[in-house]
């Protein structure tokens, strides 16, 4: 992505993550979160959850990936602020969408806000804003 072709109102390509137990466990362990609700379905159900569910570090990891897949290697993620909703559980596609809500040159950078949402058929799993920068002139 190049700073000159980012403008307010741009939509990021939608990404559908067909979420499996393996993905949830992989994210939990890569983020060193060993809470049983993130890898043990029977334990999670005993706690009232429908199944094992994604941990918050993993949610942040996927949101970061979603935005940088679009913005490219020259982008810098500055802030990920999310409100958490329904759990992300195996067998339910987690659908990511995003829209540019700010694109302003500050010094030698373009500062971009992206309103992001990750949702499944239970509702919104996470909604919020990612702030990132791109070099203002890419020469």
């Amino acid at each position: 992505m190049n700073a000159t072709n980012v403008k307010v109102g741009d939509e990021l390509p939608t990404f559908g993550l067909e979420l499996t137990s393996t993905m949830i466990v992989a994210g939990a362990i890569a983020s060193r979160d060993f809470m049983p609700v993130h890898h043990d379905a029977a334990y999670a159900r005993s706690q009232g959850a429908p199944d094992m569910f994604m941990n918050i570090l993993t949610t942040n990891g996927y949101i970061s990936r979603y935005v940088t897949d679009w913005a490219g290697p020259k982008s810098r993620v500055k802030r990920i602020a999310i409100r958490l909703g329904v759990p992300a559980v195996p067998g339910k596609t987690l659908r990511f969408d995003g829209e540019v809500t700010k694109a302003e040159i500050e010094g030698d950078e373009l500062v971009i806000d992206v309103a992001v949402r990750a949702a499944n058929d239970l509702g919104d799993h996470a909604t919020g804003t990612v702030t990132l920068t791109l070099p203002a002139s890419d020469s």
Binding site: M23, A26, G27, I29, A30, S31, R32, D33, F34, M35, P36, V37, D40, Y43, I56, L57, T58, T59, N60, G61, Y62, I63, S64, R65, T68, D69, G72, P73, K74, R76, V77, K78, R79, I80, A81, I82, R83, L84, P135
Partner: protein
């Protein structure tokens, strides 16, 4: 809400603005094996995390860790045995904190509501993180559509040496499961 005294809230008040535990140090510095593990787990194709040439062409001095790994570097080494019985806590928490107090008072349900991560700079292999946690805010007793409880907010500051490299605001709702679904 009424103006009645709330002894639970009064117990919690003592924690607001205070550190939660001691300064903690990451078990290991930022390192390539953990970055590779993360990148594979998320199938994150951003090349700056493992390819030095692309990192250099993208304006970095060296390989950088995925920013969202910030908290992962400082997760305590867990004691796996008994972790379920401890409610998922990686280790026994030795210090008094508002979450323990709320558990004692019957507000044993936990729902994370907000996470706000700020990254002041990307981390490189070799950076050793330290963190301090401060209790930022504890709400009065609230009745939400889920249950009755308290919102607890804390802020974690991440440093490498004296340099603050990131910050996280985290908010949870600690609730009494007996009040779920509109029960008193």
């Amino acid at each position: 809400m009424t103006d009645e005294r709330d002894p639970v809230r009064e117990r919690l008040e003592a924690f607001v603005g205070k550190p939660m535990g001691e300064t903690a140090t990451a078990p290991d510095p930022v390192n390539i094996p953990m970055i590779r593990h993360w990148v594979a787990a998320f199938d994150d194709r951003n090349p700056v995390y493992l390819d030095e040439d692309v990192a250099a062409k993208s304006g970095f001095d060296a390989i950088v860790a995925p920013p969202a790994m910030l908290q992962a570097w400082t997760m305590p080494t867990p004691k796996i045995e008994g972790i379920a019985e401890r409610g998922g806590a990686p280790t026994e928490m030795q210090f008094e904190n508002p979450v323990n107090v709320l558990d004692e008072e019957g507000y044993v349900g936990t729902l994370a509501t907000n996470s706000e991560l700020d990254f002041y700079r990307y981390l490189h292999p070799g950076d050793l993180l330290e963190l301090d946690i401060v209790v930022d805010e504890i709400s009065p007793k609230k009745k939400t559509s889920l249950a009755t409880g308290y919102f607890v907010t804390w802020i974690t500051t991440y440093r490498v040496g004296d340099e603050v490299v990131g910050r996280q605001l985290f908010r949870i709702f600690k609730f009494d499961p007996a009040t779920m679904g509109g029960a008193a």
